[in-house]
């Protein structure tokens, strides 16, 4: 049914068109550059060592402390409830508890060089694969071994990934999808979509 408006007949829009608008914080889009500027990306030597790194898409002083409360090693520092979480990179063991607890589903954990360390000899592309742990609370839940489409923070398609494991947090109910992706997309990977029909 057409609609008459002051500006004449309004144009029907395709959903994809709307996605291209306004990629900035004002419209809820966080860029990798925003994270870098805020100090939320790990220094090179940590990544070089292959230590697990939690990426906090958390840039505001909001009253929220679960990540700090659950961290068993004190790697997430917060002085008052409205502080932004600060990560002590060396202390993180990659246990994922913060990613399970985060109400904003804002934390992904990147395991640099995961393939090189854990999958060598098991598959030919092992060397280039890193693991990313992505919180997920939608349906359908990805399955182990399944191919998924991996997206960045603005739903830009990055690469295909392979689901390594899927863990449902017994305490928080959030699902963590652990997905193998080429190392170069690991820090940008923030969302997965199941390809099943």
């Amino acid at each position: 049914m057409a609609s008459e408006t002051e500006g004449g007949k309004a144009r029907k829009v395709k959903p994809e068109e709307l996605l291209e608008t306004q990629k900035d914080l004002a419209a809820g889009y966080i860029s990798l550059e925003d994270l870098r500027r805020a100090g939320n990306l790990p220094p090179d030597d940590i990544v070089e060592k292959g230590l697990p790194v939690p990426i906090f898409d958390c840039l505001e002083n909001i009253p929220c402390t679960p990540c700090h409360d659950v961290c068993p090693t004190g790697a997430v520092v917060m002085e008052s409830m409205i502080d932004k979480p600060k990560v002590i990179w060396e202390k993180c063991t990659g246990c994922t508890l913060c990613a399970q607890a985060c109400p904003g589903l804002a934390i992904t954990i990147v395991y640099p060089k995961f393939g090189e360390k854990r999958l060598k000899g098991k598959r030919p592309d092992a060397e280039k694969l890193w693991l990313v742990s992505i919180p997920y609370e939608l349906l359908p839940i990805p399955k182990k071994g399944e191919k998924v489409r991996v997206y960045d923070r603005g739903h830009r398609y990055l690469c295909d990934g392979e689901v390594y494991t899927v863990i449902k947090s017994p305490r928080f109910g959030t699902v963590l999808v652990n997905v193998l992706v080429p190392g170069e997309c690991a820090f940008e990977a923030k969302y997965v979509e199941v390809m099943r029909e």
Partner: protein, 488 residues
């Protein structure tokens, strides 16, 4: 989806977070047609599940109307049920064989009940009467009961827990405010806990209809089943008013079309009853409520075409907004709605962009095909009861409208009448729980109940609120609260 058909079933059977306990299958008769329903559904939910969105006709122009708020506040869901006019179908549970008819709001006729009406009168005295069984009311009741007070809790909804019962996301805040726990689970914990108190009487489905200042008696009308009522005359030595808030609407052509509703109403259908109110929606308002509900719509299998907001910058927590951006839900700032259109129900909406002075930009109109338009444009504190009781109110923009003047311990200008939760100003469920604690403890203290532990709890809650509100997100609230703070 056909607008009326007994064959449509819009219930959700698989959800990533929720399980729906619908209870026994029953049936209701809607205008001669049999509609399947479940005993834990309200009439409005059962109709929505069957794809029926048109509940009544407007008084003057006889336009089709449907529910807006789904929590018993807006009156747009009223229908004639078993011969009783003006039944709020969104808070009335179905009963097998119930006869439900659309009504003409202005031309409803006297009741012709199909069953003989039973009315029982109850007169009772309490230390504290709490109105509202949401996070604030439940917390207030429990804190007061812990101290030994005899407490009554009333709520107009058949379910306890207020708006917590529809929050699928884990809560922000700290350990003291159940952070990391989902709202639905917090509701369960509170409701389970309150049932353990022998000194708390709970009256669900009870709507306050009067307050007699001289006698200090509150009168409520409780519906046990349709045509079986109780008139409650409760005399409280103290009152805690925790009546929550109501969603706001926007003015635009077609805003009364069935399918155009408050975002919270859609949330009730999706998350309390497990019903998809629409397949494709436009959400107006990109604050926390708008973006959270966009995510919840995706959880319910609903496509969100866009979330729009007239402001240049989202007021939502960035974590909530970025969560929907990465999923590919468009967030369009500086956009608003021109109209919703459709025959008998919403079939589409035209949106447009505005410039920095909020003037429409010519040629920017976009037509979206949607079968739902959900408004997340803020809330207004529900202060009608406080007004009726005689508490002094003040308009405070930062708090969402008229709110009661109150002390640090949340006592209003009326001695012995306390407030808590969104009725004090629009905030969060976590702050509502803290305010509930403060009000409940203070009400009990004023009756002579005492404990050092409670005194510590109250101080802690006051400090907690202060720290919570020191977030830049709540700077306005802090300012607002200053404007209504009084000392006694």
């Amino acid at each position: 989806m056909s607008p009326i058909s007994g064959l449509v079933d819009r219930r959700i059977y698989e959800h990533p977070i929720l399980k729906f306990d619908r209870g026994r299958r029953v049936r209701i008769i809607f205008e001669g047609r049999e509609i399947p329903a479940y005993e834990n559904e309200t009439i409005a939910a059962a109709l929505y599940a069957a794809g029926i969105l048109h509940f009544n006709y407007s008084g003057r122009l006889k336009r089709p109307r449907g529910p807006f708020c789904m929590i018993g506040k807006c009156s747009q869901c009223m229908m004639r049920v078993n011969g009783v006019p003006h039944v709020r179908t969104c808070i009335t549970l179905v009963e097998d064989g119930m006869i439900v008819e659309r009504e003409d709001t202005h031309e409803a006729t006297l009741p012709t009940p199909t069953k003989k009406m039973k009315i029982e009168y109850v007169n009772k005295d309490y230390d504290i009467v709490v109105v509202g069984a949401g996070p604030a009311g439940l917390s207030a009741a429990m804190e007061a009961a812990k101290l030994g007070a005899k407490v009554a809790v009333l709520d107009q909804n058949p379910f306890l827990g207020g708006q917590l019962i529809k929050q699928t996301h884990k809560f922000f805040g700290t350990k003291d405010s159940y952070a990391g726990t989902r709202g639905v689970d917090i509701a369960k914990m509170l409701v389970d806990e309150i049932k353990d108190y022998e000194n708390i009487d709970i009256y669900p489905a009870a709507q306050v209809i009067g307050y007699y200042r001289r006698e200090g008696v509150m009168v409520a009308f409780q519906s046990l089943r349709l045509a079986e009522y109780r008139v409650l005359r409760l005399k409280g030595k103290r009152y805690v008013i925790a009546t929550g808030a109501m969603e706001r609407s926007l003015v635009f052509p077609g805003n009364d079309l069935p399918g155009v509703m408050g975002a919270g109403a859609a949330q009730t259908l999706m998350n309390v009853f497990g019903i998809r109110p629409a397949d494709e929606v436009l959400i107006i308002g990109a604050g926390n409520v708008g973006v959270i509900i966009a995510y919840q719509a995706a959880q319910a299998g609903i496509k969100v075409k866009a979330v729009i907001d007239i402001l240049p910058k989202t007021a939502a927590y960035l974590v909530h907004a970025s969560k929907i951006r990465r999923m590919g839900i468009p967030v369009l700032m500086r956009h608003t709605i021109r109209e919703a259109y459709g025959k008998g129900r919403v079939e589409g909406a035209v949106i447009y962009e505005v410039d920095e002075k909020f003037r429409p930009i010519p040629g920017s109109e976009k037509d979206l095909e949607v079968d739902g338009v959900w408004m997340a444009v803020g809330l207004t504190p529900s202060v009608e009861l406080l007004e009726l009781m005689g508490a002094k109110l003040k308009f405070v923009r930062e708090l969402g409208g008229y709110v009661p003047l109150r002390t640090e311990y949340l006592e209003t200008t009326l001695d012995g009448v306390f407030v808590a939760g969104d009725a004090t100003g629009i905030e969060e469920a976590s702050t509502a729980m803290m305010e509930g604690k403060i009000a409940g403890i203070s009400a009990a203290f004023s009756l002579g109940y005492k404990s050092d532990e409670a005194e510590k709890e109250r101080l802690k809650a006051i400090k907690w609120l202060d720290e919570f509100r020191s977030s830049p997100h709540y700077a306005r609230i802090k300012e607002g609260v200053k404007k209504v703070l009084i000392t006694k």
